[in-house]
């Protein structure tokens, strides 16, 4: 019996191992398995759906501390996971007459744990007798090779995965309950306020950045801007000092240079050679996909996983930036040469020495992300197609020659003042030719001037500028910081980044801290800073890695984590009252800021609030006097994005203004937007956009 991670993977593996390439799919109610013949072996290929078993508390009571747990079928913890029950029953039934079990899940911590738990609790077999298939892509040749060269189970890897779940469960459950119960005791409300051992530090990074931005006071400086003429052609020149610190210095430079004739003193050329970027690992792929395609890291991971299951790319959860020697690069390129879009580039590369550039980072289990060269078995969605294109082009580019560019600079002088004009010329595109749309640089030629030429400085101005605050995090930059701080794993980081937002701690994708985020951060920072500290988490991460390397064992790490947690919870209990009060105050501020939109214009003494219809789930603005039957004033709201009240009224209709943040888009409107005389053009444009989108969607559906 081969235990796989997903139905798609099960089918791929069954097809690859079946002698006739057509395994029999046996349907059993809502689930199925595959039967195939491989030489003298009769194989049964079953699938999980990710984790079939989860941790559940064994002691009674929704309180803390709760330290005891056990692995149980997922449907016992998550009542919605009804599809898991028949799968476990099927595996259990089929396991009775099996003489060898093979774990064929993804070769990483989670995959190894899924296989181990399935063997232990569904197959009811001793995992130490089972074998392991190790593969980095779902191509036929690699799967065959993995089946012909089976390994023992990697128990340190499994233990490391197991303890990661146990520690995350201990900290997540207990800390979240502590916060939630503190609020309940202080105000009698039941509002889940969650945190975790990585989520706490992630929130802390966002909050500290927000503090810097909120406390930012810009300083002035002046930039000298010069418009000059040479042979009747206009030139823009820059002053050699980019920042002039006082207005008087700026004025004096302007006075000295205005209407003077400067001389071209020197034309400098600096040639720069740039090697290709290394092959993608998950983190660099997520970063580049965010930069060029606007995909959030979690979306990139989902799309990459789908491409992997489609045999189009290698396993994406890798840290490696290297393509090992045993990888058949020639076969991959030959495969890509059969695809119309990539044929020319693949053929050109095949003529060369096939020596890819390698990065520094490694991963013992998987190579860098690369295309398999196989045509995807299912048609790719437009988003998958774009990500696939990025991966293929990056793969091509690692075989490319260096990019050569010339930085040009003309130095123009007048007395002791120096001015520059710059240009950039690409001498040889090299690898950038393969990277195509993902390589961005602006070539700019130097004006047609020679050393000794005279340049007339016709307009000289000192423009006031101001220093800028640090940028807010975006999903990609927060993920990078977590990676740099060694918090979480390559598989969990994107989920943690998403959770900071989905819990309401930040507003939209801009990672602007919400009032709720402030409330939690401030309270923890004041009373329980250890729950925000990256130190504790980093130490735990290290110990979990040590288990993987056999340097320590699960029991001692778990015992230490429990002792540490108990001391945190003891301290929390002592401060529970103050923490509860602080959180309640913060929540009140949060609700006031996010839900209240000022006095009702109809009844005068009610307050306008954002409410959600219990029937339709749609949100709208209603008056607080509605329940008393006094006022029925309502206003419709946009259904997508985060709505924040603004401290201003509409210049056209005098109603309250709001800010809507949806994805990367922000706009301001008034609550009376559907009736407001000043917003009819906007409404028309919105209708047009919607109709265009719906036509596009219909087109996609029919194709």
């Amino acid at each position: 019996m081969l235990v796989t991670e997903k139905p798609t993977a099960a089918k791929k593996i069954a097809v690859a191992l079946d002698d006739s390439k057509s395994p029999r799919e046996v349907k059993k109610g809502r689930t199925s398995y595959f039967e195939c013949k491989c030489g003298n072996d009769d194989l049964v290929v079953v699938y999980a759906l990710g984790h079939l078993f989860e941790l559940m508390q064994t002691e009674k009571g929704w309180t803390y501390p709760r330290l005891e747990n056990e692995w149980v079928p997922k449907y016992e913890v998550d009542k919605k996971a009804t599809n898991i029950k028949p799968i476990i029953a099927l595996i259990k039934g089929l396991s009775k007459n099996i003489d060898m079990f093979v774990v064929a899940t993804d070769y990483d911590i989670e995959g190894s744990l899924i296989g181990y738990l399935t063997l232990l609790y569904a197959c009811k077999t001793d995992p130490s007798n089972a074998k392991r298939m190790r593969f980095s892509s779902l191509t036929e040749s690699e799967l065959r090779n993995a089946f012909d060269n089976l390994h023992e189970l990697d128990f340190p890897l499994i233990e490391s995965g197991q303890i990661r779940h146990e520690v995350d469960w201990l900290y997540g459950i207990n800390m979240t309950r502590a916060l939630t119960l503190a609020i309940k005791k202080a105000a009698g409300w039941f509002k889940i306020v969650s945190t975790g051992r990585v989520q706490g530090p992630a929130l802390s990074f966002v909050a500290q950045r927000e503090k810097e931005i909120n406390l930012f006071l810009p300083l002035p400086y002046w930039m000298i801007q010069v418009v000059a003429y040479h042979n009747n052609k206009e030139l823009e020149l820059e002053y050699f000092k980019r920042h002039i610190s006082t207005v008087s210095d700026g004025k004096s430079i302007v006075e000295s240079l205005s209407d003077q004739t400067a001389i071209v003193d020197k034309i400098n050329r600096r040639t720069v050679t740039q090697l290709p970027h290394p092959p993608f690992n998950l983190s660099s792929l997520q970063s580049e996909a965010y930069r060029h395609l606007g995909y959030k890291p979690s979306r990139t991971l989902d799309l990459a996983q789908s491409l992997y299951l489609n045999s189009a790319i290698s396993y994406p959860r890798t840290s490696s930036e290297q393509l090992p020697d045993n990888l058949d690069l020639k076969a991959i390129l030959i495969g890509l040469s059969s695809m119309k879009t990539y044929a020319d580039m693949a053929v050109t590369i095949l003529k060369g020495p096939l020596k890819p550039i390698q990065g520094k980072k490694t991963d013992p289990a998987h190579p860098a992300i690369h295309p398999t060269g196989e045509k995807p078995t299912k048609k790719l969605t437009p988003s998958e197609q774009k990500l696939y294109d990025l991966i293929v082009r990056r793969f091509f580019s690692v075989f490319g020659e260096p990019l050569v560019k010339d930085h040009l600079r003309a130095d123009i002088i007048w007395e002791n003042h120096k001015l520059y004009t710059r240009g950039l010329q690409i001498q040889k595109l090299g690898w950038a030719e393969y990277y195509g749309p993902f390589f961005k640089t602006e070539e700019k030629s130097l004006p047609d001037i020679s050393e000794g030429d005279s340049i007339h400085l016709s307009s000289v101005k000192a423009e006031e500028k101001h220093t800028l605050p640090p940028a807010r995090f975006n999903p990609a930059s927060l993920l990078k910081l977590l990676e740099r701080e060694n918090l979480g794993t390559k598989s969990t980081r994107s989920r943690i980044v998403d959770s900071v937002r989905s819990r309401g701690y930040t507003i939209a994708d801009r990672f602007e801290l919400s009032t709720l985020g402030y409330a939690l951060y401030e309270t923890l920072d004041h009373y329980m800073s250890v729950m925000l500290s990256p130190e504790m988490t980093r130490q735990l991460e290290k110990e979990m890695e040590d288990i993987q390397q056999g340097k320590t064992d699960r029991d001692s790490v778990l015992a230490k984590a429990r002792t540490n947690l108990l001391s945190i919870l003891k301290e929390f209990k002592e401060k529970e009252e103050q923490i509860g009060e602080e959180l309640v105050k913060g929540l009140q501020r949060y609700w006031k800021e996010t839900e209240e939109l000022g006095p009702c214009p109809k009844c005068g003494n009610g307050v306008l609030r954002i409410v959600q219809s219990p029937k339709t789930g749609k949100r709208f603005v209603g008056c607080s006097n509605y329940k008393e039957g006094v006022c029925d004033q309502t206003f419709p709201l946009p259904q997508k994005g985060t709505v924040t009240p603004l401290e201003k009224t509409c210049p056209y209709c005098d109603h309250q203004m709001i800010k809507v943040l949806s994805g990367r888009r922000t706009w301001e409107t008034c609550i009376n937007w559907t009736e407001c005389p000043g917003r009819q053009e906007d409404l028309k444009a919105l209708d047009e956009r919607r109709s265009k989108q719906s036509k596009k969607d219909d087109g996609e559906d029919s194709s």
């Binding site: 406390l215 930012f216 006082t246 101001h466």
Partner: protein, 71 residues
């Protein structure tokens, strides 16, 4: 009265810790603005609150100062 007159958080000195830091920043940075741009205190406050990149707490403190001083 022990709450910040700007945001309602607990007061440290004149304001909560955030607005107090913002207030100290506003006072401290005036010297640099005065040298660089030759502005009076009042001009400085108006200028800072007009700049888009000025932080939220700085802006709130300035608004408070201007209201208090009737500027």
């Amino acid at each position: 009265m022990s709450i910040c007159p700007i945001c309602g958080r607990d007061k440290q000195d004149k304001f909560c810790s955030y607005h107090q830091t913002a207030y100290d920043n506003v006072k401290e940075m005036y010297g640099q603005w005065k040298t660089a741009a030759g502005l009076s205190w009042e001009e400085y406050l108006h200028k800072i609150s007009d700049i888009e990149s000025t932080g939220r707490w700085i802006r709130e403190v300035i608004e408070f100062i201007m209201q208090q001083d009737g500027l």
